[in-house]
Protein backbone atom coordinates (compact mmCIF):
# COMPACT_ATOMS: atom_id res chain seq x y z
CA UNK A 1 0.00 0.00 0.00
CA UNK A 2 1.08 3.57 -0.65
CA UNK A 3 1.21 5.35 2.69
CA UNK A 4 0.94 9.03 3.43
CA UNK A 5 4.76 9.12 3.55
CA UNK A 6 5.29 7.70 0.08
CA UNK A 7 2.28 9.31 -1.55
CA UNK A 8 2.73 11.88 -4.33
CA UNK A 9 -0.17 14.17 -5.16
CA UNK A 10 -1.91 13.41 -8.46
CA UNK A 11 -5.19 15.31 -8.32
CA UNK A 12 -3.21 18.41 -7.36
CA UNK A 13 -0.38 17.66 -9.75
CA UNK A 14 -0.92 20.99 -11.56
CA UNK A 15 -0.85 23.10 -8.43
CA UNK A 16 2.00 25.55 -8.63
CA UNK A 17 2.68 24.85 -12.34
CA UNK A 18 2.47 28.01 -14.45
CA UNK A 19 -0.42 27.79 -16.90
CA UNK A 20 -1.37 24.41 -15.43
CA UNK A 21 -4.93 25.15 -16.47
CA UNK A 22 -4.17 25.15 -20.20
CA UNK A 23 -4.71 22.20 -22.49
CA UNK A 24 -1.03 22.25 -23.52
CA UNK A 25 0.04 21.85 -19.92
CA UNK A 26 -2.46 19.09 -19.31
CA UNK A 27 -1.42 17.17 -22.43
CA UNK A 28 2.25 17.56 -21.61
CA UNK A 29 1.53 15.84 -18.30
CA UNK A 30 -0.06 12.89 -20.10
CA UNK A 31 -3.61 14.18 -20.13
CA UNK A 32 -6.19 13.24 -22.78
CA UNK A 33 -4.02 10.38 -24.08
CA UNK A 34 -5.89 7.97 -21.76
CA UNK A 35 -9.19 9.22 -23.15
CA UNK A 36 -8.10 8.62 -26.75
CA UNK A 37 -6.85 5.16 -25.91
CA UNK A 38 -9.99 4.28 -24.02
CA UNK A 39 -12.28 5.49 -26.83
CA UNK A 40 -10.54 3.28 -29.33
CA UNK A 41 -10.06 0.23 -27.13
CA UNK A 42 -12.88 0.00 -24.64
CA UNK A 43 -16.64 -0.27 -24.95
CA UNK A 44 -18.73 1.73 -22.44
CA UNK A 45 -19.55 -1.31 -20.26
CA UNK A 46 -15.84 -2.00 -19.92
CA UNK A 47 -15.29 1.54 -18.67
CA UNK A 48 -18.08 1.11 -16.14
CA UNK A 49 -16.40 -2.12 -15.07
CA UNK A 50 -13.07 -0.33 -14.71
CA UNK A 51 -14.53 2.32 -12.42
CA UNK A 52 -16.50 -0.28 -10.51
CA UNK A 53 -13.46 -2.44 -9.86
CA UNK A 54 -11.40 0.58 -8.78
CA UNK A 55 -13.67 0.90 -5.76
CA UNK A 56 -14.10 4.64 -6.40
CA UNK A 57 -16.72 6.15 -4.10
CA UNK A 58 -18.34 9.50 -4.82
CA UNK A 59 -16.48 12.48 -3.39
CA UNK A 60 -19.53 14.78 -3.10
CA UNK A 61 -20.51 13.71 0.39
CA UNK A 62 -22.48 10.48 0.36
CA UNK A 63 -19.63 8.17 -0.67
CA UNK A 64 -21.75 6.03 -2.95
CA UNK A 65 -19.92 3.59 -5.25
CA UNK A 66 -19.54 5.44 -8.54
CA UNK A 67 -19.39 2.45 -10.90
CA UNK A 68 -22.34 0.80 -9.17
CA UNK A 69 -24.42 3.96 -9.53
CA UNK A 70 -23.74 3.95 -13.26
CA UNK A 71 -25.06 0.38 -13.57
CA UNK A 72 -28.47 1.56 -12.32
CA UNK A 73 -29.05 3.31 -15.65
CA UNK A 74 -31.55 1.42 -17.80
CA UNK A 75 -29.90 -0.87 -20.38
CA UNK A 76 -30.45 -0.09 -24.04
CA UNK A 77 -32.19 3.18 -23.32
CA UNK A 78 -32.91 5.11 -26.54
CA UNK A 79 -31.59 8.27 -24.86
CA UNK A 80 -30.92 10.95 -24.20
CA UNK A 81 -29.08 10.19 -20.98
CA UNK A 82 -27.68 13.13 -19.04
CA UNK A 83 -24.64 13.60 -16.87
CA UNK A 84 -24.83 16.36 -14.28
CA UNK A 85 -21.54 17.32 -12.73
CA UNK A 86 -22.14 18.75 -9.31
CA UNK A 87 -20.04 21.87 -8.76
CA UNK A 88 -22.45 23.52 -6.37
CA UNK A 89 -19.91 23.02 -3.57
CA UNK A 90 -21.51 24.91 -0.68
CA UNK A 91 -20.90 22.73 2.36
CA UNK A 92 -19.25 25.03 4.90
CA UNK A 93 -15.53 24.33 5.01
CA UNK A 94 -15.33 22.86 1.50
CA UNK A 95 -13.36 24.27 -1.43
CA UNK A 96 -11.63 21.35 -3.16
CA UNK A 97 -13.84 21.49 -6.27
CA UNK A 98 -12.86 25.13 -6.71
CA UNK A 99 -9.17 24.26 -6.57
CA UNK A 100 -9.60 21.44 -9.08
CA UNK A 101 -11.54 23.65 -11.51
CA UNK A 102 -9.14 26.54 -11.26
CA UNK A 103 -5.83 24.68 -11.19
CA UNK A 104 -6.49 21.77 -13.51
CA UNK A 105 -9.82 22.11 -15.35
CA UNK A 106 -8.86 19.66 -18.09
CA UNK A 107 -8.44 16.87 -15.56
CA UNK A 108 -12.07 17.49 -14.58
CA UNK A 109 -13.15 17.62 -18.22
CA UNK A 110 -11.32 14.44 -19.19
CA UNK A 111 -12.98 12.63 -16.30
CA UNK A 112 -16.33 14.04 -17.36
CA UNK A 113 -15.88 12.93 -20.96
CA UNK A 114 -14.86 9.43 -19.87
CA UNK A 115 -17.82 9.23 -17.48
CA UNK A 116 -20.22 10.41 -20.19
CA UNK A 117 -18.83 7.79 -22.57
CA UNK A 118 -19.26 5.08 -19.95
CA UNK A 119 -22.83 6.09 -19.17
CA UNK A 120 -23.70 6.88 -22.83
CA UNK A 121 -24.63 10.42 -21.90
CA UNK A 122 -24.68 12.81 -24.86
CA UNK A 123 -24.96 16.00 -22.83
CA UNK A 124 -23.20 16.93 -19.59
CA UNK A 125 -24.18 19.95 -17.53
CA UNK A 126 -21.74 21.29 -15.01
CA UNK A 127 -23.88 22.96 -12.35
CA UNK A 128 -21.56 25.61 -10.95
CA UNK A 129 -22.35 27.68 -7.91
CA UNK A 130 -22.76 31.39 -8.54
CA UNK A 131 -19.95 32.33 -6.16
CA UNK A 132 -17.24 30.83 -8.38
CA UNK A 133 -16.84 33.39 -11.17
CA UNK A 134 -13.17 32.55 -11.60
CA UNK A 135 -13.88 28.83 -11.90
CA UNK A 136 -16.53 29.69 -14.48
CA UNK A 137 -14.10 31.61 -16.67
CA UNK A 138 -11.34 29.03 -16.44
CA UNK A 139 -13.68 26.12 -17.03
CA UNK A 140 -15.36 27.80 -19.99
CA UNK A 141 -11.97 28.49 -21.57
CA UNK A 142 -10.99 24.87 -21.00
CA UNK A 143 -14.23 23.66 -22.59
CA UNK A 144 -13.53 25.85 -25.62
CA UNK A 145 -10.02 24.41 -25.85
CA UNK A 146 -11.36 20.87 -25.60
CA UNK A 147 -13.83 21.50 -28.44
CA UNK A 148 -11.07 22.99 -30.57
CA UNK A 149 -8.86 19.97 -29.92
CA UNK A 150 -11.64 17.55 -30.87
CA UNK A 151 -12.24 16.13 -27.38
CA UNK A 152 -15.78 17.50 -27.32
CA UNK A 153 -18.47 17.80 -29.95
CA UNK A 154 -19.46 15.40 -32.72
CA UNK A 155 -17.74 12.07 -33.22
CA UNK A 156 -14.91 12.58 -30.76
CA UNK A 157 -11.62 11.38 -32.29
CA UNK A 158 -13.52 9.25 -34.81
CA UNK A 159 -15.06 7.09 -32.10
CA UNK A 160 -18.64 7.77 -33.06
CA UNK A 161 -19.19 9.14 -29.54
CA UNK A 162 -20.47 12.72 -29.31
CA UNK A 163 -20.69 14.93 -26.25
CA UNK A 164 -21.51 18.51 -25.40
CA UNK A 165 -20.62 20.04 -22.05
CA UNK A 166 -22.46 23.13 -20.84
CA UNK A 167 -21.89 25.26 -17.78
CA UNK A 168 -25.00 26.15 -15.82
CA UNK A 169 -24.92 28.87 -13.20
CA UNK A 170 -26.60 28.49 -9.82
CA UNK A 171 -28.04 31.26 -7.70
CA UNK A 172 -26.57 30.94 -4.24
CA UNK A 173 -28.61 28.17 -2.65
CA UNK A 174 -26.98 25.28 -0.75
CA UNK A 175 -29.84 22.94 -1.52
CA UNK A 176 -28.94 22.99 -5.23
CA UNK A 177 -26.07 20.67 -4.27
CA UNK A 178 -28.49 17.91 -3.28
CA UNK A 179 -28.70 15.91 -6.47
CA UNK A 180 -32.44 16.14 -7.06
CA UNK A 181 -32.50 19.77 -5.92
CA UNK A 182 -29.84 20.33 -8.56
CA UNK A 183 -32.00 18.59 -11.14
CA UNK A 184 -35.07 20.68 -10.33
CA UNK A 185 -32.97 23.83 -10.42
CA UNK A 186 -31.49 22.87 -13.78
CA UNK A 187 -35.03 22.41 -15.08
CA UNK A 188 -35.73 26.03 -14.17
CA UNK A 189 -37.71 25.43 -11.00
CA UNK A 190 -37.27 26.05 -7.31
CA UNK A 191 -34.67 23.60 -6.01
CA UNK A 192 -37.00 21.40 -4.02
CA UNK A 193 -35.42 17.96 -3.68
CA UNK A 194 -37.52 15.14 -5.09
CA UNK A 195 -38.90 12.19 -3.22
CA UNK A 196 -36.91 9.09 -4.15
CA UNK A 197 -37.52 6.63 -5.75
CA UNK A 198 -37.46 7.11 -8.64
CA UNK A 199 -33.74 7.76 -8.43
CA UNK A 200 -32.11 10.02 -11.02
CA UNK A 201 -30.62 7.02 -12.83
CA UNK A 202 -34.16 6.02 -13.78
CA UNK A 203 -35.83 9.40 -14.00
CA UNK A 204 -33.65 12.45 -13.56
CA UNK A 205 -33.33 15.75 -15.35
CA UNK A 206 -35.92 16.37 -18.04
CA UNK A 207 -37.43 13.05 -16.91
CA UNK A 208 -34.53 11.14 -18.50
CA UNK A 209 -31.98 8.80 -16.94
CA UNK A 210 -29.36 10.94 -15.26
CA UNK A 211 -26.11 10.50 -13.42
CA UNK A 212 -25.04 13.11 -10.88
CA UNK A 213 -21.40 13.12 -9.83
CA UNK A 214 -19.11 15.49 -8.02
CA UNK A 215 -16.21 17.38 -9.63
CA UNK A 216 -13.59 15.51 -7.60
CA UNK A 217 -15.20 12.19 -8.59
CA UNK A 218 -14.67 13.22 -12.21
CA UNK A 219 -11.02 14.01 -11.55
CA UNK A 220 -10.59 10.58 -9.93
CA UNK A 221 -12.09 8.91 -13.01
CA UNK A 222 -9.49 10.66 -15.17
CA UNK A 223 -6.71 9.43 -12.89
CA UNK A 224 -8.04 5.86 -12.86
CA UNK A 225 -8.06 5.90 -16.68
CA UNK A 226 -4.51 7.20 -16.69
CA UNK A 227 -2.89 5.18 -13.92
CA UNK A 228 -5.05 2.11 -13.68
CA UNK A 229 -7.26 0.32 -11.23
CA UNK A 230 -4.38 -1.33 -9.38
CA UNK A 231 -2.75 2.00 -8.72
CA UNK A 232 -6.01 3.41 -7.36
CA UNK A 233 -6.52 0.41 -5.12
CA UNK A 234 -3.00 0.66 -3.76
CA UNK A 235 -3.99 3.89 -1.99
CA UNK A 236 -6.31 4.24 0.98
CA UNK A 237 -7.96 1.85 3.40
CA UNK A 238 -8.90 -1.58 2.04
CA UNK A 239 -12.30 -3.11 2.61
CA UNK A 240 -12.70 -4.74 6.01
CA UNK A 241 -12.59 -8.49 5.30
CA UNK A 242 -14.84 -9.13 8.31
CA UNK A 243 -17.52 -6.79 7.03
CA UNK A 244 -18.95 -7.86 3.68
CA UNK A 245 -20.82 -4.57 3.39
CA UNK A 246 -17.71 -2.39 3.62
CA UNK A 247 -16.57 -1.38 0.14
CA UNK A 248 -13.35 0.15 1.48
CA UNK A 249 -11.98 3.65 0.93
CA UNK A 250 -9.63 3.64 -2.02
CA UNK A 251 -7.70 6.37 -3.76
CA UNK A 252 -6.37 9.83 -3.13
CA UNK A 253 -8.55 12.44 -1.45
CA UNK A 254 -8.51 16.20 -1.31
CA UNK A 255 -8.80 17.34 2.30
CA UNK A 256 -9.75 20.97 2.89
CA UNK A 257 -8.25 22.29 6.06
CA UNK A 258 -9.51 25.55 7.54
CA UNK A 259 -10.43 27.32 10.74
CA UNK A 260 -7.87 27.53 13.51
CA UNK A 261 -4.81 26.06 11.81
CA UNK A 262 -1.60 27.84 10.93
CA UNK A 263 -1.78 26.93 7.24
CA UNK A 264 -5.28 26.52 5.88
CA UNK A 265 -5.40 24.90 2.47
CA UNK A 266 -6.39 22.00 0.26
CA UNK A 267 -4.12 19.00 0.75
CA UNK A 268 -4.06 15.68 -1.03
CA UNK A 269 -3.48 12.52 0.95
CA UNK A 270 -4.43 8.85 0.82
CA UNK A 271 -7.92 8.26 2.16
CA UNK A 272 -7.63 7.39 5.82
CA UNK A 273 -5.13 9.96 7.01
CA UNK A 274 -6.03 11.00 10.56
CA UNK A 275 -7.24 14.46 11.42
CA UNK A 276 -4.26 14.86 13.72
CA UNK A 277 -1.72 14.04 11.03
CA UNK A 278 -3.49 16.37 8.63
CA UNK A 279 -3.47 19.23 11.09
CA UNK A 280 0.11 18.74 12.28
CA UNK A 281 1.79 17.75 9.07
CA UNK A 282 -0.02 19.89 6.51
CA UNK A 283 -1.72 22.55 8.57
CA UNK A 284 1.30 23.48 10.68
CA UNK A 285 -0.64 22.64 13.83
CA UNK A 286 -3.44 24.39 15.63
CA UNK A 287 -2.85 28.13 15.32
CA UNK A 288 -1.18 30.26 17.98
CA UNK A 289 0.12 27.15 19.72
CA UNK A 290 -3.32 26.44 21.12
CA UNK A 291 -5.13 23.16 21.57
CA UNK A 292 -8.03 22.03 19.44
CA UNK A 293 -11.33 21.86 21.24
CA UNK A 294 -13.24 20.20 18.43
CA UNK A 295 -12.78 19.38 14.77
CA UNK A 296 -15.34 19.04 12.00
CA UNK A 297 -14.37 15.92 10.05
CA UNK A 298 -15.97 16.62 6.67
CA UNK A 299 -18.05 19.76 6.37
CA UNK A 300 -20.28 21.12 9.08
CA UNK A 301 -23.04 18.56 8.36
CA UNK A 302 -20.85 15.77 9.65
CA UNK A 303 -20.84 16.91 13.28
CA UNK A 304 -17.87 17.21 15.61
CA UNK A 305 -14.94 15.20 16.86
CA UNK A 306 -13.33 16.06 20.18
CA UNK A 307 -9.56 16.52 20.63
CA UNK A 308 -9.45 12.96 22.00
CA UNK A 309 -10.93 11.65 18.79
CA UNK A 310 -8.43 13.23 16.41
CA UNK A 311 -6.62 9.97 15.72
CA UNK A 312 -9.69 8.71 13.90
CA UNK A 313 -8.85 7.85 10.28
CA UNK A 314 -10.65 10.09 7.83
CA UNK A 315 -11.85 7.40 5.47
CA UNK A 316 -15.47 6.70 4.63
CA UNK A 317 -16.10 4.70 7.79
CA UNK A 318 -13.81 6.42 10.30
CA UNK A 319 -15.86 9.43 11.43
CA UNK A 320 -18.88 7.18 12.01
CA UNK A 321 -16.96 5.27 14.67
CA UNK A 322 -16.88 8.38 16.85
CA UNK A 323 -20.51 9.31 16.34
CA UNK A 324 -20.09 11.68 13.39
CA UNK A 325 -22.31 11.40 10.33
CA UNK A 326 -19.51 10.38 7.97
CA UNK A 327 -16.60 11.62 5.90
CA UNK A 328 -18.80 14.04 3.97
CA UNK A 329 -16.69 16.34 1.87
CA UNK A 330 -13.52 15.73 3.92
CA UNK A 331 -13.49 19.38 4.88
CA UNK A 332 -11.69 19.53 8.20
CA UNK A 333 -12.39 22.61 10.28
CA UNK A 334 -10.42 23.14 13.46
CA UNK A 335 -12.07 24.91 16.39
CA UNK A 336 -9.62 25.96 19.08
CA UNK A 337 -10.05 25.84 22.85
CA UNK A 338 -11.04 29.50 23.15
CA UNK A 339 -14.27 29.09 21.18
CA UNK A 340 -17.55 28.70 23.01
CA UNK A 341 -19.39 25.60 21.90
CA UNK A 342 -22.59 27.62 22.19
CA UNK A 343 -21.32 30.02 19.54
CA UNK A 344 -20.24 27.13 17.35
CA UNK A 345 -23.65 25.50 17.45
CA UNK A 346 -25.39 28.82 16.90
CA UNK A 347 -23.40 29.32 13.72
CA UNK A 348 -24.28 25.84 12.52
CA UNK A 349 -27.99 26.19 13.32
CA UNK A 350 -28.14 29.56 11.59
CA UNK A 351 -26.68 28.06 8.44
CA UNK A 352 -29.22 25.27 8.25
CA UNK A 353 -32.17 27.46 9.17
CA UNK A 354 -31.15 29.72 6.30
CA UNK A 355 -30.64 26.90 3.81
CA UNK A 356 -33.55 24.55 4.57
CA UNK A 357 -35.76 24.57 1.48
CA UNK A 358 -38.86 24.37 3.67
CA UNK A 359 -40.57 21.39 2.09
CA UNK A 360 -40.50 19.01 5.05
CA UNK A 361 -42.01 20.12 8.33
CA UNK A 362 -39.39 18.51 10.63
CA UNK A 363 -36.57 20.23 8.76
CA UNK A 364 -38.21 23.61 8.25
CA UNK A 365 -39.41 23.84 11.86
CA UNK A 366 -36.52 21.94 13.43
CA UNK A 367 -33.85 24.11 11.86
CA UNK A 368 -35.61 27.36 12.66
CA UNK A 369 -36.54 26.42 16.24
CA UNK A 370 -33.08 25.15 17.04
CA UNK A 371 -31.75 28.52 15.92
CA UNK A 372 -34.31 30.39 18.00
CA UNK A 373 -33.41 28.36 21.04
CA UNK A 374 -29.73 29.10 20.59
CA UNK A 375 -30.52 32.78 20.14
CA UNK A 376 -32.38 32.68 23.42
CA UNK A 377 -29.61 30.78 25.18
CA UNK A 378 -27.06 33.32 23.96
CA UNK A 379 -29.31 36.11 25.19
CA UNK A 380 -28.99 34.73 28.73
CA UNK A 381 -32.41 33.09 28.84
CA UNK A 382 -31.41 29.48 28.41
CA UNK A 383 -32.80 26.65 30.52
CA UNK A 384 -31.28 23.21 31.05
CA UNK A 385 -34.43 21.82 29.55
CA UNK A 386 -33.51 23.45 26.24
CA UNK A 387 -30.70 20.96 25.88
CA UNK A 388 -33.17 18.08 25.93
CA UNK A 389 -35.37 19.89 23.45
CA UNK A 390 -32.44 20.49 21.15
CA UNK A 391 -31.40 16.86 21.43
CA UNK A 392 -34.94 15.84 20.58
CA UNK A 393 -34.91 17.99 17.46
CA UNK A 394 -31.57 16.44 16.55
CA UNK A 395 -32.95 12.93 16.93
CA UNK A 396 -36.15 13.43 15.00
CA UNK A 397 -35.34 15.34 11.83
CA UNK A 398 -33.64 13.73 8.87
CA UNK A 399 -33.59 10.80 6.53
CA UNK A 400 -32.14 8.56 9.22
CA UNK A 401 -35.22 8.89 11.42
CA UNK A 402 -37.13 8.87 8.12
CA UNK A 403 -38.91 12.17 8.52
CA UNK A 404 -37.52 14.20 5.61
CA UNK A 405 -37.02 14.10 1.86
CA UNK A 406 -33.33 14.87 1.77
CA UNK A 407 -30.17 14.74 3.81
CA UNK A 408 -29.95 18.43 4.64
CA UNK A 409 -31.88 17.76 7.83
CA UNK A 410 -29.46 15.02 8.89
CA UNK A 411 -26.68 17.52 8.31
CA UNK A 412 -28.48 20.02 10.51
CA UNK A 413 -29.11 17.39 13.18
CA UNK A 414 -25.59 16.04 13.54
CA UNK A 415 -23.83 19.15 14.83
CA UNK A 416 -26.66 19.52 17.37
CA UNK A 417 -26.47 15.89 18.48
CA UNK A 418 -22.67 15.76 18.64
CA UNK A 419 -22.29 19.12 20.37
CA UNK A 420 -24.77 18.29 23.08
CA UNK A 421 -23.57 14.71 23.58
CA UNK A 422 -19.89 15.62 23.62
CA UNK A 423 -19.98 19.06 25.29
CA UNK A 424 -23.01 18.91 27.54
CA UNK A 425 -21.12 20.15 30.57
CA UNK A 426 -20.06 23.28 28.79
CA UNK A 427 -23.63 24.01 27.68
CA UNK A 428 -24.88 23.49 31.22
CA UNK A 429 -22.24 25.76 32.71
CA UNK A 430 -23.01 28.43 30.15
CA UNK A 431 -26.72 28.31 30.85
CA UNK A 432 -26.30 28.33 34.62
CA UNK A 433 -23.88 31.24 34.50
CA UNK A 434 -25.87 33.36 32.09
CA UNK A 435 -29.29 32.62 33.55
CA UNK A 436 -28.66 32.02 37.27
CA UNK A 437 -32.26 32.56 38.33
CA UNK A 438 -34.07 30.81 35.50
CA UNK A 439 -32.00 27.89 34.34
CA UNK A 440 -34.23 25.33 36.10
CA UNK A 441 -37.37 26.71 34.46
CA UNK A 442 -39.32 24.05 32.58
CA UNK A 443 -42.51 25.84 31.60
CA UNK A 444 -42.85 26.96 28.00
CA UNK A 445 -41.22 30.34 27.41
CA UNK A 446 -41.97 32.80 24.67
CA UNK A 447 -39.46 33.03 21.88
CA UNK A 448 -37.50 36.24 21.57
CA UNK A 449 -38.50 38.51 18.73
CA UNK A 450 -37.97 36.48 15.59
CA UNK A 451 -34.44 36.62 14.33
CA UNK A 452 -33.85 37.19 10.72
CA UNK A 453 -31.76 34.51 9.14
CA UNK A 454 -31.18 36.31 5.89
Amino acid sequence: MITSDTFEPVLLEAAGIDDGHTIESYRSRGGYAPLEKLLSEKQPPEVVEMVKSSGLRGRGGAGFMTGLKWTFLPKDHPGPIYLCVNADESEPGTFNNRILMEDDPHQVLEGTIISAYATRASTAYIYLRYEYPKSWDILQKAIDEAYAAGFLGENIKGSGFSLDIYLHRGAAAYICGEETGLIESLEGKRAWPRIKPPFPAIEGVFRKPTVVNNIETMACVAQIARRGVDWFRSIGIPADPNNPRDPGSYGPKLYCLSGHVEKPGCYEAPLGITARELIDRFGGGVWKGRRAKAVIPGGISMGLMTEDELDTPLDFSGPGTVGCLGLGTAAVVVVDETVSIVDFLHNSCRFFAHESCGQCTPCREGTSWSLRMLERIRAGKGRLRDLDLLAEIGDTMGMMPGSTICGLADGAAWPIKNSIAKFRDEFEDYIKQTNPTGYMETDPVPALPIVTTH
Binding site: P92, F95, P133, E187, R190, G259, V333, F351, H454
Partner: protein
Protein backbone atom coordinates in the same frame (compact mmCIF):
# COMPACT_ATOMS: atom_id res chain seq x y z
CA UNK B 1 -42.64 38.24 -30.36
CA UNK B 2 -43.18 39.62 -26.86
CA UNK B 3 -46.12 41.98 -26.80
CA UNK B 4 -45.34 45.38 -25.24
CA UNK B 5 -41.75 44.58 -24.43
CA UNK B 6 -40.53 47.08 -21.82
CA UNK B 7 -37.55 45.59 -20.04
CA UNK B 8 -35.88 42.93 -22.12
CA UNK B 9 -33.59 44.53 -24.68
CA UNK B 10 -32.68 43.03 -28.06
CA UNK B 11 -29.31 42.20 -26.62
CA UNK B 12 -30.79 40.39 -23.62
CA UNK B 13 -33.13 38.44 -25.89
CA UNK B 14 -30.23 37.45 -28.10
CA UNK B 15 -28.20 36.30 -25.11
CA UNK B 16 -31.05 34.20 -23.78
CA UNK B 17 -31.90 32.72 -27.15
CA UNK B 18 -28.28 31.81 -27.80
CA UNK B 19 -28.58 29.33 -24.92
CA UNK B 20 -31.81 27.71 -26.10
CA UNK B 21 -30.20 24.82 -27.97
CA UNK B 22 -28.48 23.66 -24.79
CA UNK B 23 -31.66 22.49 -23.11
CA UNK B 24 -34.53 20.25 -24.26
CA UNK B 25 -37.13 22.44 -22.52
CA UNK B 26 -37.73 26.14 -22.56
CA UNK B 27 -38.31 26.23 -18.83
CA UNK B 28 -34.66 25.33 -18.26
CA UNK B 29 -33.83 28.78 -19.60
CA UNK B 30 -35.49 30.37 -16.57
CA UNK B 31 -32.38 30.71 -14.41
CA UNK B 32 -30.12 31.72 -17.32
CA UNK B 33 -32.70 34.34 -18.36
CA UNK B 34 -33.03 35.68 -14.83
CA UNK B 35 -29.24 35.95 -14.67
CA UNK B 36 -29.07 37.81 -17.97
CA UNK B 37 -31.51 40.42 -16.73
CA UNK B 38 -30.07 40.56 -13.22
CA UNK B 39 -26.49 40.95 -14.48
CA UNK B 40 -27.56 43.97 -16.44
CA UNK B 41 -30.19 45.67 -14.26
CA UNK B 42 -29.10 44.41 -10.83
CA UNK B 43 -32.69 43.36 -10.29
CA UNK B 44 -35.47 41.58 -12.17
CA UNK B 45 -38.54 43.79 -12.18
CA UNK B 46 -41.97 42.19 -12.44
CA UNK B 47 -42.33 43.34 -16.02
CA UNK B 48 -39.24 41.34 -16.87
CA UNK B 49 -40.74 38.28 -15.21
CA UNK B 50 -43.82 38.61 -17.41
CA UNK B 51 -41.67 39.01 -20.48
CA UNK B 52 -39.43 36.06 -19.65
CA UNK B 53 -42.55 33.97 -19.08
CA UNK B 54 -43.88 34.95 -22.48
CA UNK B 55 -40.56 34.15 -24.12
CA UNK B 56 -40.41 30.72 -22.49
CA UNK B 57 -44.10 29.80 -22.86
CA UNK B 58 -44.57 29.76 -19.11
CA UNK B 59 -47.03 31.37 -16.75
CA UNK B 60 -45.54 34.45 -15.07
CA UNK B 61 -46.20 32.72 -11.75
CA UNK B 62 -43.82 29.92 -12.69
CA UNK B 63 -40.97 32.33 -13.35
CA UNK B 64 -41.81 34.32 -10.24
CA UNK B 65 -41.89 31.11 -8.20
CA UNK B 66 -38.36 30.27 -9.29
CA UNK B 67 -37.12 33.82 -8.81
CA UNK B 68 -38.36 34.13 -5.26
CA UNK B 69 -36.94 30.75 -4.23
CA UNK B 70 -33.44 32.03 -4.86
CA UNK B 71 -32.97 34.95 -2.49
CA UNK B 72 -30.16 35.93 -4.78
CA UNK B 73 -32.41 37.89 -7.11
CA UNK B 74 -33.50 41.44 -6.31
CA UNK B 75 -36.86 42.49 -7.59
CA UNK B 76 -38.28 45.74 -6.23
CA UNK B 77 -35.13 47.76 -6.58
CA UNK B 78 -31.60 47.13 -7.80
CA UNK B 79 -28.78 46.20 -5.48
CA UNK B 80 -25.85 48.57 -5.25
CA UNK B 81 -23.33 49.08 -8.01
CA UNK B 82 -21.10 46.75 -6.05
CA UNK B 83 -22.62 43.79 -4.25
CA UNK B 84 -20.41 42.44 -1.52
CA UNK B 85 -21.05 39.02 0.00
CA UNK B 86 -19.28 38.71 3.34
CA UNK B 87 -18.98 35.14 4.55
CA UNK B 88 -20.37 34.37 7.99
CA UNK B 89 -20.11 30.57 7.89
CA UNK B 90 -17.98 28.60 10.27
CA UNK B 91 -14.43 28.82 8.92
CA UNK B 92 -14.73 32.56 8.40
CA UNK B 93 -16.60 33.13 11.66
CA UNK B 94 -13.75 31.40 13.50
CA UNK B 95 -11.35 33.95 12.04
CA UNK B 96 -13.37 37.08 12.60
CA UNK B 97 -15.73 37.11 9.61
CA UNK B 98 -18.66 38.48 11.55
CA UNK B 99 -16.57 41.31 12.96
CA UNK B 100 -15.50 42.22 9.44
CA UNK B 101 -19.13 42.24 8.34
CA UNK B 102 -20.10 44.49 11.25
CA UNK B 103 -17.13 46.74 10.62
CA UNK B 104 -17.95 47.14 6.94
CA UNK B 105 -21.59 47.89 7.65
CA UNK B 106 -20.76 50.38 10.35
CA UNK B 107 -18.31 52.21 8.11
CA UNK B 108 -20.78 52.21 5.24
CA UNK B 109 -23.55 53.34 7.57
CA UNK B 110 -25.92 50.50 6.76
CA UNK B 111 -27.20 47.28 8.27
CA UNK B 112 -26.25 43.91 6.78
CA UNK B 113 -28.36 43.34 3.69
CA UNK B 114 -28.82 47.03 2.93
CA UNK B 115 -27.61 49.34 0.18
CA UNK B 116 -25.98 52.70 0.85
CA UNK B 117 -28.09 55.77 0.08
CA UNK B 118 -25.86 56.69 -2.86
CA UNK B 119 -26.52 53.23 -4.33
CA UNK B 120 -22.81 52.44 -4.47
CA UNK B 121 -22.71 49.31 -2.41
CA UNK B 122 -24.82 46.54 -0.97
CA UNK B 123 -23.28 44.52 1.84
CA UNK B 124 -24.79 41.13 2.49
CA UNK B 125 -23.96 38.32 4.86
CA UNK B 126 -23.29 35.16 2.89
CA UNK B 127 -22.91 31.50 3.68
CA UNK B 128 -19.65 29.69 2.90
CA UNK B 129 -18.15 31.12 -0.29
CA UNK B 130 -15.96 28.07 -0.86
CA UNK B 131 -12.85 30.04 -0.06
CA UNK B 132 -12.33 28.99 3.56
CA UNK B 133 -8.59 28.74 2.89
CA UNK B 134 -8.69 32.55 2.77
CA UNK B 135 -10.98 33.09 5.76
CA UNK B 136 -12.35 35.57 6.50
CA UNK B 137 -13.29 36.41 2.96
CA UNK B 138 -15.71 38.37 0.82
CA UNK B 139 -16.84 38.20 -2.78
CA UNK B 140 -17.48 41.63 -4.30
CA UNK B 141 -18.46 41.52 -7.94
CA UNK B 142 -16.08 38.96 -9.42
CA UNK B 143 -13.32 39.71 -6.94
CA UNK B 144 -12.55 37.49 -4.02
CA UNK B 145 -11.14 39.47 -1.11
CA UNK B 146 -8.96 37.19 0.97
CA UNK B 147 -7.83 37.14 4.59
CA UNK B 148 -9.81 40.25 5.43
CA UNK B 149 -8.88 42.60 8.23
CA UNK B 150 -10.60 45.85 9.25
CA UNK B 151 -7.81 47.72 7.40
CA UNK B 152 -8.40 45.79 4.19
CA UNK B 153 -12.12 46.34 4.60
CA UNK B 154 -11.56 50.10 4.89
CA UNK B 155 -9.38 50.12 1.79
CA UNK B 156 -12.06 48.23 -0.07
CA UNK B 157 -14.77 50.72 0.88
CA UNK B 158 -12.53 53.58 -0.16
CA UNK B 159 -11.91 52.05 -3.56
CA UNK B 160 -15.64 51.56 -4.07
CA UNK B 161 -16.16 55.21 -3.19
CA UNK B 162 -13.43 56.33 -5.60
CA UNK B 163 -14.75 54.25 -8.49
CA UNK B 164 -18.24 55.60 -8.13
CA UNK B 165 -17.24 59.02 -6.78
Amino acid sequence: MIANRKVLTEDMLARIEALASRYPTKQALTLPALHVVHDELRHVPLDAVVEIAELLDLAPAEVQDTLTFYQFFYQDKPHGKVRAFVCRSISCALRGGEQVLDHLCEKAGIKPGETTADGNITIEPAECLGACDFAPCMLAGNDLHKDLTPEKADAFLESVGRQNG
